[in-house]
């Protein structure tokens, strides 16, 4: 295995294991590692990769695939994705197994319950942080409001609402 592949595995495994609170908190450190430390791609390419990846569905952290691709082709892409997603997923499987075994203990219940208000606050904060870069004018503001209203007050299927938003974006340019 080449040095680049090992570095990709090492960097993204460590990042994955430090992503407490979600993957979005990692993006500045991913940029530092990929651009400044390892020069897998230029700063301009990094910005372009992140912007392009937003055309895809799924978690935003999946854009590490593009970094691995630029660094070492197909195998690099696979290494980056596996290192980014597998360690956290394995830990979450362990957490679920532990909850299944010990979840009824009062102490465990209290610890999990303690996170509940913070979890909701952070979910709303991630919407606000996303809004800073995506809700930039009256059009995007209107789409965000309509999406929130549609999701909250109607039973319309989300894919249909999503298509309506995409069509609005296409027509309004």
């Amino acid at each position: 295995m080449s040095g680049t592949m090992l570095e990709l595995l090492r960097v993204f495994t460590l990042l994955s294991l430090s992503a407490f609170g979600g993957g979005n908190v990692l993006i500045p450190e991913i940029q530092r590692q990929a651009v400044a430390v390892h020069a897998w791609l230029s700063a301009r390419e990094f910005t372009e990769a992140f912007a392009l990846s937003r055309a895809a569905p799924g978690p935003s952290t999946l854009f590490v695939l593009l970094i691995g691709w630029r660094a070492a082709g197909g195998p690099g892409a696979a290494a980056a994705v596996l290192a980014m997603f597998l360690p956290g997923a394995a830990l979450m499987q362990c957490a679920c197994a532990a909850l299944a075994r010990w979840g009824r203990l009062p102490l465990v219940g209290r610890v999990v319950a303690a996170f509940r208000p913070v979890t909701v606050g952070l979910l709303l904060a991630s919407a606000a942080v996303m809004a800073k870069t995506t809700v930039v004018d009256a059009r995007t503001g209107a789409i965000a409001l309509l999406a929130a209203a549609g999701a909250t007050f109607t039973r319309a299927p989300l894919p249909a609402l999503l298509l309506a938003a995409a069509a609005a974006g296409w027509l309004l340019g």
Partner: protein, 183 residues
């Protein structure tokens, strides 16, 4: 947590998570999961979903993937968790792989920028809707609401590091006084 009384087949779990993954354009995957699991199918209750998201944030890794693992676990045990996580990732993986291969030509679509902006705004609206709905259904008291608001402001306005806010406010929340012992 136990594997719940609702046990859809592994195939049904795979199909549901595949659809959610395939349609979650513009970010906001957590909002899509809430809608699909709590509202469209009553596979998880509001309480279970909030517990799942809490554990997903406390364990490292992308929230939506951790949340998929939690939901799959509750529905079908460890195998269900693996199926849910792989299914929700499948189409996004194919999509980003295609973007990697076509990278050079992908920026040449003029109208695509407008569609992307609209989808990003949609994701924001969906996440806000999910958060507000959870806030309403969680039966928080005044202190809980204050903690939620403080965590929100710390990240959204003061841009404090998310892990510090998560564990700091959770610690405060754990030692806060409670009139009745919860559960």
């Amino acid at each position: 947590m136990t594997v719940g009384p609702i046990r859809p087949s592994l195939g049904a779990v795979a199909a549901r998570f595949l659809l959610v993954g395939a349609t979650s354009f513009g970010g906001g995957l957590t909002g899509h999961l809430r809608r699909a699991l709590v509202e469209d199918r009553r596979w998880l209750t509001e309480d279970e979903f909030l517990e799942g998201l809490s554990v997903a944030q406390a364990v490292p890794g992308p929230n939506a993937i951790n949340l998929s693992i939690y939901a799959g676990w509750r529905l079908r045990g460890p195998l269900g968790a693996a199926v849910a996580a792989l299914s929700v990732m499948l189409v996004p993986l194919a999509f980003v792989s295609a973007i990697a291969v076509g990278w050079a030509g992908a920026t040449a679509l003029p109208r695509a920028a407008g569609v992307l902006r609209a989808l990003g705004a949609f994701g924001v609206g969906l996440m806000a809707s999910s958060g507000l709905t959870m806030l309403r259904s969680a039966r928080f008291d005044a202190l809980d609401l204050a903690l939620a608001a403080a965590a929100f402001a710390a990240v959204a306005f003061f841009t404090l590091p998310v892990p510090a806010v998560l564990f700091g406010f959770a610690a405060l929340s754990a030692v806060r006084p409670r009139r009745v012992e919860a559960r």
